[in-house]
């Protein structure tokens, strides 16, 4: 029996690119249709951290701007959160932060990393660099692109490194 895996959840508004990020990060085990039927898709991948390899079980929860009862059940037992926002839609950043607040009622304080996605379309971003700089004071923020893969590994590795031992 290897080391116990850690559960992390991707939270973010609809269309921010959560599933694309997971696809970039892990090998796909299950079809994306689970997202529309069950509302979640679970994959896993091992990540190298300073403390050694760590297996992450990634719960990609269907995009919503608020957690309903089923989503609350899905995030139960998660050790960390990946909050995903779309840089071209500033409203999704607020949704991601609101989802973190909601998740806190179920999980308590758990490590979280914010991914501002769609870096490949940075020219269209509504999210201002100043905003990102301000957010970096409270949680790690990564500007990612699921399309190019920029900073995706780093974001997952950052969260893996912050997970409790």
């Amino acid at each position: 029996m290897s080391e116990v895996a850690r559960k992390i959840c991707l939270l973010g508004d609809f269309g921010v690119g959560k599933t694309s990020l997971v696809a970039r990060f892990v090998r796909n085990t299950f079809s994306d249709k689970y997202l529309t039927t069950v509302g979640v898709k679970v994959d896993s991948r091992e990540v190298a951290t300073a403390a050694g390899p760590r297996k992450l079980v990634v719960w990609d929860i269907a995009g919503k701007n608020a957690l309903d009862s089923v989503s609350q059940a899905y995030i139960r037992g998660a050790s960390g959160l990946l909050l995903v926002a779309d840089g071209t839609r500033e409203a999704t950043l607020r949704s991601a932060l609101y989802l973190q607040v909601q998740a806190r009622t179920t999980l308590g304080e758990v490590p979280a990393v914010l991914l501002v996605n769609k870096l490949d379309r940075v020219d269209d971003w509504e999210v201002k660099p100043a905003t990102i700089a301000e957010l970096r004071k409270t949680l790690p923020v990564f500007e990612t692109s699921a399309r190019t893969g920029d900073h995706v590994e780093a974001a997952f590795a950052e969260l893996a490194g912050r997970l409790p031992a």
């Binding site: 029996m1 559960k7 689970y34 069950v38 979640v40 994959d43 719960w59």
Partner: protein, 566 residues
């Protein structure tokens, strides 16, 4: 260069350079434009190059759409193209199915006459499950492919065991999805009722899930497992809850012995063998005694029913035997009806009623119904009874019937004898009349009459000297007795005798005196006999036919029969 030109160059130099770059790019694109002739070569090149996977992904959707359109638009072409593929595939599938069926049939036939087969038949009879299903349940192989111990909250795998030789799978992802689906089912179907996902068919696997507060056991099974496995899974899960307060927390805390302890607690090979042993084990006695009681009750009921039926068959046989020998009764059918007997048949009016005899054979209170119609029986006792009723034989006449012949014995007056013989031949059931023993009465009476007549006429009453009456009147008594018998016989024979007396005298006196003396003596005897017998007696002078007889001192009686009796 003019100043205007220089100004123009300064203002438009960047735009010109940009336009030149665009023109060059357009030229380059023009040169790279592919033609339909070049496309196959380009696709082949891409398929063999590093972008092969990307090409496959890119083509997957349009190729699927194109195939779908082709199935709709050019179905026959698709069918023709697939024909060489589908045929062997179908044949292979059929061959596999037949091979499996033959294997199952072989197992069933091989087991049908063995102790194991008989045990399975008994099991099928006891449980009501078809024999084939019992055979399949015992012969189909099953095994546990994967056993996951999952934390219910997070869906993370606490521990996992898999059968050897199986390809690796992402147990964490599977456990996570299983948990998510369970939550989805609970939320969408179970609501607040706490319903959970207990089992599911997953491809060729059967998934059984056992829920616990701190751990969930998910078992992926191939084949048809016995029900005992479910019980064992529950026991394993309960044991884990007993031994580990929070197995996930203990694992995350890095407790060294938790993994080994979970290995021992789950024990996949042991689980399989225990389930097989339980499945083959006989049913515990605790679960069997109700069946034995039911079986015993059935046996007792069956025995009671058997005794009851045997008694009734005995009663039926006795009734049939009794009625079969019953004179004047022709039985058509004896049946059980309404807890009693019903007899159908024919009965002669002179036959004895059979009710009392039948009632003696039945239990008290059992109903007895007789459906009997009349007929003329030819049974000997009934024919004899009928002959007695019709002929009414007087005293002195007896009759008997045997072998179709009515035998008459006795004595009757001639006329009655003739009438009886005539009527006897008409009695139903009588084929012949034996009347040799039935004689006429008249000849015997006439002989007796004649004998008495001779006796009477030979008797003499003697007189002394010239006496007109005998010295001893008692000498008359024998004569009176004989005459009384004679008169009785005459009455019986229908004769009407006339009594006459005559007297005699010796020849020592005068003729007149002798004549007077003969008349006196005949008169005296006539008077005495008339008084003694109560009939008229006539006195005559001399007996007819023998004059010498009067030459003695006697008196006697002569009997005449009217109508030429002598």
């Amino acid at each position: 260069m003019s100043g205007f030109q220089r100004l123009k160059d300064l203002l438009l130099d960047d735009e010109r350079a940009e336009r030149t770059r665009v023109a060059q790019r357009l030229d380059a694109l023009e040169q790279r434009r592919t033609t339909p002739d070049e496309l196959p070569a380009l696709v082949e090149g891409a398929a063999q190059g590093p972008a092969a996977a990307r090409l496959s992904r890119a083509l997957a959707a349009p190729v699927a759409d194109a195939l779908g359109d082709a199935v709709v638009a050019r179905r026959q072409t698709i069918v023709d193209a697939l024909f060489p593929v589908i045929g062997p595939a179908i044949r292979k599938a059929i061959a596999e199915a037949l091979r499996s069926m033959v294997a199952d049939l072989n197992a069933a036939i091989e087991s049908s006459l063995t102790p194991r087969g008989l045990r399975w038949r008994l099991e099928a009879w006891r449980t009501g499950v078809p024999y084939a299903q019992v055979v399949l349940r015992h012969t189909l192989r099953w095994r546990i492919d994967h056993l996951f111990l999952i934390e219910p909250g997070s869906g993370l795998v606490i521990h996992r065991e898999s059968a050897p030789g199986l390809p690796d799978l992402d147990s964490d992802a599977i456990a996570g999805m299983l948990t998510a689906i369970g939550e989805f089912v609970r939320d969408s179907v179970g609501r607040e009722g706490g319903a959970t996902l207990g089992s599911a068919d997953v491809g060729e696997h059967l998934l059984w899930v056992e829920e616990g507060p701190r751990a969930r056991l998910a078992c992926f099974i191939r084949g048809a497992p016995p029900a005992a496995l479910r019980t064992l899974l529950r026991e394993r899960l309960e044991r884990i809850h007993e031994r580990f307060a929070d197995p996930m927390a203990q694992l995350q805390a890095g407790a060294a012995d938790v993994g080994a302890a979970l290995d021992a607690a789950l024990d996949l090979p042991g689980l399989e063998s225990a389930a097989r042993a339980l499945d083959d084990a006989p049913v515990p006695a605790r679960a069997r005694w109700p069946a034995w009681i039911v079986a015993l009750a059935l046996l007792v009921a069956l025995g009671a029913w058997g005794v009851h039926e045997w008694r009734w068959s005995q009663r039926l046989a006795a009734a049939q035997s009794t009625l079969g020998d019953w004179p004047g009764l022709a039985v058509q059918r004896v049946t059980r009806e309404g807890g009693g007997l019903r007899v159908r048949g024919l009965i002669d009016p002179l036959a004895d009623p059979p009710q009392a005899a039948l009632a003696a054979l039945l239990p008290p209170g059992a109903p007895l119904a007789l459906d009997l119609r009349g007929y003329i029986a030819t049974d000997a006792p009934i024919v004899e009874r009928r002959a007695r009723a019709l002929l009414a034989p007087p005293d002195g006449v007896s009759l008997s019937f045997d072998g179709g012949t009515l035998r008459l014995v006795g004595e009757l007056p001639q006329a009655e004898r003739a009438a009886m013989i005539l009527r006897a031949g008409m009695v139903p059931g009588v084929a012949a009349v034996d009347d040799a023993g039935l004689v006429a009465r008249e000849p015997r009476l006439r002989a007796a009459f004649d004998a008495l007549r001779a006796t009477v006429e030979s008797r003499r009453i003697t007189f002394e000297g010239d006496a007109e009456a005998p010295a001893d009147a008692a000498a008359l008594a024998p004569l009176v007795d004989d005459l009384r018998r004679l008169l009785a016989v005459a009455r019986e024979a229908g004769l009407s005798p006339v009594l006459r007396t005559w007297g005699g005298a010796d020849g020592s006196g005068t003729a007149a005196r002798n004549a007077a003396l003969r008349a006196a003596r005949a008169g005296w005897l006539a008077r005495e006999l008339s008084v003694a017998l109560g009939v008229e007696v006539f006195a005559e002078l001399e007996p007819a036919g023998d004059p010498q007889a009067t030459l003695a001192r006697v008196a006697a009686v002569r009997i005449d029969l009217g109508g030429g009796g002598r």
